[in-house]
Amino acid sequence: MWIIGVLGFGQQGWGGLLIAGALMTLCVTIAALLLGAVLGTMVAWAKLSGNAVLRALGNAYTTVFRGVPELLIIYLIYFGGSGAVTAIGRYLGYEGFLGLPSFAAGALAVGIISGAYQAEVYRGAFLAIPKGELEAAEAIGMHRGLRFRRIIAPQVLRFAIPGIGNVWQLSLKDSALVSVTGLADLMRTSQVAAGSTRQYFLFFIAGGCLYLVLTSLSDRLFNRAERRANRSMPSSLGQA
């Protein structure tokens, strides 16, 4: 019976806080995915461009942020970001330490990492567009903006959905590492609950189950999005 008491929503229960933590995890991941989409588009564009300098910069970005542990990047953004904010504060006349809010630091760090993965997804999706379609668009006189809006963007989005689903799952699990900055996400809440009740096993299992709920629900959502995006396409191999 004590399990219901501890995990419930009552006075002694941690249920409400765990749900709130799960929502926080979801918020961090959504913010990170959006930031990563912007960064990823820019990096993919840089890697596809003819300019050698841009291409090298894009390659460096994807190599570094996919090759260095996520935890290290979170430390860099959290400690380095706080240093930068403090320096700006001093410049503006504020003496003393200013911390980067842990939500911002976490979303920024996970977003930068997911940007590196998303860049590869978008690049692959762009390369999957048949060359003939781009030439046809050019032949009937579409210029760059129109061609991007009508031909490239819709197809890149469709080809990229499975890849973005993978990046989402990856970011959801990376967001657990943001707990080291003290953000009250699902991981951190489970840790605090486990520590204060001494029921480590129970709370880590509960936290893990909530993560499984998040990952399996979002998996279903992405499968539906993929089916919807492909509803006008002839059925082919590897369809969801």
Partner: protein, 232 residues
Amino acid sequence: MDFVFILQTMRTLLAAVPMTLALFFLSIFFGGLLALLVVWMRVARNPILSNFAKGYIFVFRGSPLLIQMFLVFYGLGQFGFIRYSFLWPFLREPFVCAVLSLALCTAGYTAEIFRGGLRAVSVKEIEAARSIGMSGFLLVRRIIGPIAFRHALPAYSTEIVMMVKSTALASLVTVWEVTGVAQRLISQTYRTMEVFLCAAAIYLILNFLILQAMALLEHRLSQHRRAVPRLP
């Protein structure tokens, strides 16, 4: 740029590389063995075995490694039957807990990768082997195993790079590997950028070397695919 500081940092961090490598190799080894077991269960005809393997893969791929590691490190010690068993001297060690959770987690991912490799083995090759009388273990050892492994290799090398990065989490259960030492240096000196660059360089070099080795292995294993030089 303070080169003396960077040199000193590099020396401190390099001293922690053997710990990172030990975590990596042990977890890849045990994770690989476990993955073979899981994939064998996953493709078994017995529904109990295959559903168990599906559940295993779902749980270990669907939840963050950090929560699995904390579950092993903090959670197991809570039970009396583990605390007073012969396993406790091992499970008390943070290093053993880190290797255990890394191996359990990578086994889930690796099993799916190996299953993808198995599905790439063409039925004709298996039929041919059967027609000349191979069956059972010989069939797996001579035909299915090598072909599946070669097909799985590109995805497996991605997983291996993921594992190098995942060893960083061991620092959160007090194993002093590269990221843990880097974090300690950052909080002692507040010189984030220099320490970060040194640690990042170490990980990038490790990953580069490992990917190079995997590419070499792939090259060696796919000799038959390259054009054979014609004899005059």
